[in-house]
């Protein structure tokens, strides 16, 4: 009876390890705090109507940033825990974690950083910026977009679920290699949590990718041919095409692993005719393109930033576009370089080695192109540009080591060593994460109407660079010494400990950088009068997103712009724009259907993890019924009349004038540093308590 109701779930599953209990307490405390604040300020309705059920890609983009930001802290904490264990665990000391805990932590670190941090930020940026860049008011399917986002949130909750309801996480490495991930070697629920968090969020990614391909191909402003599309949109298009190509493969592979574990089939098992090598192939056919899905929008961001801050058009637009298309095409043909060591024939290895090396060509073209863009420009070194310059140095190291790893016999020595780990961190931190930071600091004024604090931003940048060198240069050296990855313990005779300790220190410096980034955002909001962007175009931008207000109205553009060149807004600024009449605007209505479907999807996944059959069946029926009900809803849009648009625009305009009058008073104000911020916050809290303002808040 109990088994029918609750499956494998019982009291023993509840968190009882110190680190899971700590996690549970942290999550519950955070949840309670949010509930209390929302109830106190009576914001529940506002949250539901304005944010959670919103189909506005700008709001969804911001929600992606918030989730991604929290997950960055969670994944970063994992990284520090990994480094701490490795710094301690030499010789007689076995550190503070058992091997199993340690393995769960690095698995979670990998999954969270790739799926729920990098993907979150990339999707957030694409959501917010792409419609603005192509002059669209919404997406091809606003509903698919909220559904994709909420499926992603369901995945995030699933990956952290073991904190709340217990069990464990996978201890198999981020790709859950077979046959280790099979029932035979991993009998616990960890791998099942892994399967369902990736499955649910992965389906969301597929839907999102299809939606953005449709949006970019079908909803561009009049006159914007593919050859005049901004480069970030190009990078996003390449990335989304890749995602739509390979994510179904992940879905299929995860189902096969699930069948193996749940139904006892033999796709990837060692016995019964299963082939673990097939799994390795399938997961990397998706896994390799996955990192490029993250990388290509970042290439787009850098192209935009270099061009804007050099105040020059990109040197060779076609080369940049072809470079990105080249990278994304080749990236689909290189997956085998992740397992040269599995014993394929020499010709197979040589082919995939060659393909991998070829990727260096379009990538170098992009770098040379950026150099040529800066040539004879007038370069402003503000934080977005700093992130670009930092990216080049770090990514160059990652690129060089990447091509080294593409030489099969060299890979035999370097594979699975810390050298490899350092390599992909160079590319993912240097390329993707710095790209994201570059993009966020570049578009922050567009998103919030406030420029980011430069002083603290620059300190954060230097913390990241120094922290990166401290943690990853020793990692390269350790790799050359023969240290393999994922070690929870090593002999003291190896002499590796000092390097692990330096890596931990580097990790702490990076943590300081992250803290400074949070401080930077807080300081910017404190000095928001000084940093206000009243023009909508704080950087002297070139593309359409800068032609509208900051933050843009919910319909993005009151009048859809007409595009003549690739740097559409740059051209517009040179010529006077003729006044046009406002027109009726059709906007999508908010909907909660995405949330309902995701709740059912979450319960379906959860039910499969614990083998609660009735819940799984019920949830799947729930998904089907809610989807059918949604298809009968024909009133998904509403019309904003021309008069209403005019009223909104005029109100915005008046407000803008008021603000710009005020802003000029604050322009010469002193820009806050870290110390000023600390003093400010200290005084704020003192006055907050003394004046008892919280009573009326």
């Amino acid at each position: 009876m109990k088994e029918m109701l609750l499956g494998k779930l019982d009291w023993h599953a509840l968190p009882h390890e110190w680190f899971t209990i700590g996690g549970s307490i942290a999550f519950i405390a955070m949840g309670l705090m949010i509930v209390v604040i929302l109830t106190w300020t009576k914001r529940w309705k506002w949250l539901w109507n304005e944010w959670l059920t919103s189909v506005d890609p700008k709001r969804i983009g911001i929600m992606y940033f918030i989730v991604g930001g929290f997950m960055l802290l969670r994944g970063g904490l994992d990284a520090i825990m990994i480094w701490l264990q490795q710094a301690l665990s030499s010789g007689n000391s076995h550190g503070y974690l058992s091997a199993d805990h340690f393995q769960q932590i690095f698995t979670a670190h990998g999954n969270i950083m790739v799926f729920f941090v990098a993907m979150a930020f990339i999707f957030g940026l694409i959501n917010y910026i792409v419609p603005l860049q192509i002059g669209a008011r919404d997406l091809a399917s606003p509903f698919l977009n909220t559904l994709g986002f909420w499926l992603f949130v369901a995945g995030v909750i699933m990956v952290n679920m073991f904190f709340l309801l217990g069990g464990e996480y996978a201890a198999t490495g981020w790709l859950a290699v077979a046959p280790l991930s099979g029932k035979e070697f991993s009998p616990g629920v960890g791998v099942d949590y892994w399967i369902w968090s990736l499955q649910v969020s992965g389906i969301g990614t597929t839907l999102g990718a299809i939606n953005f391909i449709m949006t970019i191909l079908k909803m561009r402003a009049p006159g914007m041919s593919l050859k005049k599309m901004p480069l970030f949109t190009w990078g996003s298009l390449c990335s989304m095409v890749m995602a739509a190509t390979v994510f179904p493969l992940l879905t299929a592979t995860l189902f096969l692993v699930f069948f193996d574990r749940f139904l006892g089939t033999h796709f990837f098992t060692t016995i019964g005719g299963g082939s673990p090598m097939l799994y390795t192939n399938l997961i990397w056919m998706w896994g390799h393109p996955e990192v490029y899905i993250l990388m290509l929008p970042a290439f787009g961001i850098f192209s935009e930033v270099v061009s804007t801050f050099s105040r020059k058009p990109i040197a060779s637009y076609m080369s940049a576009v072809l470079g990105m298309i080249g990278v994304s095409t080749l990236a689909l043909l290189v997956w085998l370089h992740h397992f040269f060591t599995m014993g394929a024939g020499v010709n197979v290895n040589a082919f995939f080695g060659l393909m991998t090396m070829l990727i260096a060509i379009p990538t170098s073209v992009l770098v040379f192109n950026w150099t040529a863009t800066m040539y004879k420009g007038r370069i402003k070194f503000e934080t977005p540009m700093l992130w670009f310059l930092g990216f080049i140095a770090v990514f160059a190291i990652g690129g060089i080591t990447g091509v080294m790893l593409a030489v099969p016999p060299a890979d035999f020595q370097l594979h699975n060593s810390l050298f490899l780990v350092a390599h992909f961190h160079s590319t993912v931190i240097g390329g993707v994460l710095f790209g994201i930071f570059c993009g966020i600091s570049y578009w922050f004024p567009k998103i919030t109407g406030i420029k980011l604090n430069e002083r603290i931003g620059k300190s954060a940048f230097w913390c990241w660079i120094i922290g990166f060198c401290l943690s990853f240069i020793p990692m390269y050296i350790l790799g050359l010494m023969g240290a393999s990855r994922r070690l929870d313990h090593y002999d003291s005779s190896t002499g590796w400990q000092p390097f692990y300790v330096i890596m931990l220190l580097g990790g702490l410096v990076i943590a300081a950088g992250v803290t400074l980034q949070i401080a930077q955002i807080i300081a910017s909001f404190i000095q928001k009068k000084r940093l206000q962007d009243t023009t909508g175009d704080p950087w002297d931008g070139r593309t359409l997103e800068w032609s509208t207000l900051s933050p843009p109205p919910f319909y993005n553009f009151s009048i859809i712009p007409k595009v003549k060149t690739a740097d559409a807004f740059w051209e517009m600024k040179k010529h006077d724009i003729e006044k046009q009449k406002f027109e009726d605007i059709h906007m999508p209505k908010n909907t909660a259907t995405g949330i309902y479907i995701s709740i059912f999807a979450f319960f379906a996944g959860f039910a499969f993890v614990w083998e609660i059959i009735w819940l799984a069946v019920l949830s799947i029926f729930g998904i089907i019924i809610v989807s059918i009900v949604r298809t009968f809803n024909e009133h998904t849009e509403y019309t904003l009349t021309a008069v209403e648009v005019q009223e909104i625009e005029e109100a915005r305009h008046k407000k803008q004038i008021k603000i710009s009058e005020k802003v000029s008073e604050f322009r010469d104000d002193y820009e806050m540093g870290v110390w000023d911020l600390i003093v400010y916050l200290y005084r704020f809290f003192l006055s907050f308590i003394r004046t008892k303002r919280w009573r009326t808040w």
């Binding site: 091997a99 393995q103 201890a171 490495g173 290699v177 077979a178 046959p179 280790l180 991993s186 673990p276 390795t280 105040r311 040197a315 060779s316 060591t341 014993g343 020499v346 040589a350 080695g353 260096a360 170098s364 073209v365 770098v367 040379f368 150099t371 040529a372 800066m374 040539y375 004879k376 007038r378 370069i379 310059l389 080049i392 140095a393 160059a396 060089i400 091509v403 080294m404 593409a406 030489v407 099969p408 016999p409 890979d411 035999f412 020595q413 594979h415 699975n416 060593s417 050296i477 790799g479 050359l480 010494m481 023969g482 393999s484 994922r486 313990h489 090593y490 002999d491 190896t494 002499g495």
Partner: protein
Amino acid sequence: MIDNKKNHSNRYLKWILVLLLVNFILLLKYLLENKNIALLNPKGFVSNEQYRLILYSVGILLAIAIPALIVLYSVAWKYRESSTKANYSPDIKHGKFFVLKLWIIPSVFIFVLAFIMIPATHKLDPRKTVESDKAPMTIQVISLRWKWLFIYPEQGIATVNYVQIPIDTPIEFQLTADEAPMSSFWIPNLGGQLYAMTSHINRLNLMAEIPGDYPGSTPEITGAGFAGMRFTVRASSDQEFESWVDEVKRMPDSLAMSEYEELIKPSENNKMAFYSAYEDKLYETVIAKYISLGGHTH
């Protein structure tokens, strides 16, 4: 005021560059002098070839990356906003061959590297016996949870987590696994790794050239006892190897099927073990086990 600020940042930059250069040289010196860096101090034929390949590829890549980076950063610095000397011309037309150059320069370097890579891949095929005057020797390796079993079919002995080999003799390690997830067999000083998995034989050919004790491990994760799944390789002269074999042959333990069944049970941080004899056709039995269970072999 502006001039002052500019000079200040110029001086600042100079110091950063000097510091970077000094650090880089110190790092290089450390890498070249430290004997603890296994991949840069190869002790065998294959690892030596792989070491050279690593050096060549780094060299070729640095030959393009260093100039490219220098150009990029000096362009960025030269055309900074505060510079009074640089001229700003946003409408500059690049020459006819600009785009061509953009694509050809990196292509040339990559093709040079490819011309080194493809023959090297063939030459260092792990299945190929290393060329030597001496007759090659076979060692069968079974990856277990979480230890390595070595079987010497020619000598009739078996060991756990320890393998002794004569120098200058080509060795073929025949890798497989039994009731264990996929693992990887790696001896950094002697040469590159290959996966060991059930129902398969992967052949890794290596040859030690310098006597010594070298650590070996699995860099591929295999579960809880993964970090302790280490073994030691002793490369010694022929005579020492022979006398070691004789010594093992006098050891009391032998690996009959019942002992083997005991050995394959999961256990962590295993000590070395030596068996004077082993069950007849043990290795073949292990392979056949998975074929009879519906597996396949290549």
